[in-house]
């Protein structure tokens, strides 16, 4: 090590740093390049009346028909989630259409909001918002969820173990769990896993074929528009300006592909929804989402430190270069 120079060390250290940088940027590029344009949905709440006169709104009933082949088919006997004395089993409530369940992927909420001295009825079809950066899919510990290039966020029912983390990190708690079905039944169903999570996949089987989701097609009042996401966003903003209304879903959770336009502020809608939820027999039960305005993304806090995280190996590289130079220089000086 007698031919050691400061310049050599800086060169070697820089080369290692650049190599790491290239690896990282290469990975970033590999993620781009999708040619399919994302789809979006625009709900015009000034048009939706919850299908007055029908027992079940059309969007809900056609969704159930269209997607019934994907619904859970659980085993007869379902164990508790050891060591707890509970299990999430919706088999006896398959007919429920007033909340999200593994057998009901969309439903219509109804609130009455006071606005300028009058009461406005607002009907809100609810389902997965298909977020731009979905924490549910990103944080699935088994990679069982993904965002497709077309926009829908989908759950792989053959891989999902039903830990329900996706529901916890979703600002609306959308995915619903059915026990007694899925991969965990082949492992140790008493001790590991909890079932499979179910939610709207935006009729992905239809979207892949260039068709529109069943709910969009069935809406008798044309309250749901589906198409190129940017177009939907534009339409929503245009409509909001026309009526002096409000928009929901554009900024929430870091951006979604679902845009609601309402004549009344969503803050008021959210308050009404929460009041309704609190009156339910079990107010903490999932499946009845609110509309928190400007709600953040679960990943915001860690993404804030992701830069520091990715720089850590480079910092280690430079620190090591400095330390190695110092120690070797020292050994040289002392004849080491």
């Amino acid at each position: 090590m007698s031919l050691l120079s400061r310049r050599d060390f800086i060169k070697r250290t820089l080369a290692a740093g650049v190599a790491s940088g290239l690896v990282l940027s290469g990975l970033g590029k590999a993620a781009e390049g999708a040619t399919i344009t994302p789809r979006g949905t625009f709900y015009d709440l000034t048009k939706c009346d919850g299908c007055k006169g029908l027992k079940v709104p059309r969007c809900v009933s056609v969704c159930r028909e269209e997607n019934s082949f994907k619904f859970p088919k659980p085993a007869e006997h379902i164990e508790y989630y050891w060591p707890q004395k509970k299990k999430e089993d919706w088999r006896d409530k398959k007919d429920l259409t007033t909340r999200l369940t593994p057998y009901n992927w969309t439903f219509v909420q109804h609130v009455q909001v006071k606005q300028d001295g009058r009461t406005v009825d607002v009907f809100i079809p609810r389902r997965c918002m298909h977020c731009d950066n979905p924490p549910c899919a990103n944080l699935c510990p088994f990679g069982a969820q993904s965002k497709t290039p077309e926009g829908p966020v989908i759950i792989n029912p053959n891989l999902c173990l039903g830990g329900a983390k996706c529901r916890d990190v979703c600002p609306w708690g959308i995915p619903a769990r059915q026990a007694g079905v899925g991969l965990y039944m082949k492992l140790a169903p008493r001790y590991v896993g909890g079932g499979v999570m179910y939610k709207c996949d935006l009729c992905y089987h239809r979207v892949k074929e260039g068709k529109i989701p069943a709910c969009v097609e069935a809406c008798p009042r044309g309250a749901i528009a589906f198409g190129d996401k940017e177009e939907m966003r534009e339409q929503a903003w245009k409509r909001a300006r026309e009526i002096g209304g409000y928009i929901y879903g554009d900024k929430e959770n870091g951006g979604t592909s679902t845009f609601y336009v309402s004549p009344v502020p969503f803050q008021k809608i959210h308050e009404q929804l929460m009041a309704q939820k609190n009156k339910q027999p079990n107010p903490t039960a999932p499946g009845f989402p609110g509309m928190p305005v400007g709600v953040g993304n679960f990943l915001d806090s860690v993404n804030g430190i992701a830069g520091a995280l990715l720089v850590a190996p480079l910092a280690g590289t430079f620190a090591a270069g400095y330390a190695a130079y110092r120690t070797m220089k020292g050994e040289e000086d002392h004849g080491g």
């Binding site: 090590m1 060390f9 070697r12 250290t13 290692a16 790491s20 990282l24 990975l27 970033g28 590999a30 993620a31 999708a34 989630y81 060591p83 707890q84 950066n133 990103n138 944080l139 510990p141 088994f142 990679g143 969820q145 993904s146 965002k147 989908i154 792989n156 891989l159 830990g163 983390k165 916890d168 909890g194 870091g254 951006g255 993304n297 679960f298 990943l299 806090s301 860690v302 993404n303 430190i305 992701a306 520091a308 995280l309 990715l310 850590a312 190996p313 910092a315 280690g316 590289t317 620190a319 090591a320 270069g321 330390a323 190695a324 130079y325 120690t327 070797m328 050994e331 004849g335 080491g336």
Partner: protein, 244 residues
Amino acid sequence: MADKILVRENKVRRHSVSVLFVHWAVAISTILLIFSGFGQMPMYRRYMIYKIPGLGWSADFSVTLYMHYVAAAVLMFAAAYHIVFHVLRKEYGILPGRGDLKESYLIIKAMLTGGKEPPSDKFLAEQRLAYAYIGFWLLVIIVTGIIKVLKNLPGINFTGNTMIWVTDIHTFATFMLIFGILAHLAAFLFKANRPLLRGMFTGKVDLEYVKHRHPLWYDRLVKKRAQSPGSRERAANLPQDMTV
């Protein structure tokens, strides 16, 4: 080489400050990563770990995920430091070589039966193997972890199949690593290995231990000492059996 015989203390300096830093940074960050990683599974609510006093936070994904990121930064800093530091210093003594499997078997057999071990260099054959095993799985975890971090960023989306592979390799590698860590700790069930334990805290091991168990290393240390300037003066201070 920072290694040298410390005559007055009757010890040998085995690890530099850099090595101690890397070992403990990796150990502590890995323990935190494993704990917070299991929190992501999610396990602590299901198995009611969060009800243990003081662990109420463990079921909160936002806490365990943040912890996972911070610990990952420490691990990646230490891993990069380790590789670059030793490559620059051309120190490769811990990399496994041909015959290490057999030699490792002979050492373990000798520890169990009380027989004579083959002479070792600075690192025992099983230490070289353990290093390669743990290092390999740590690298797999780091690479898949980086992809997972990138995927969490807005605007970056990998295909579903890619993420299944990346996620499940990350998890599988963690289980392989845990197995390696348990084996690493189990090494200290053998009395013969215990002098090394103190070395990982102080950087120094007993001279007598080195002479008997690491004679190849000891010979090199003695040679190095003889070659260094001022060796003649120092030789006068060496115990009889160390004079060269």
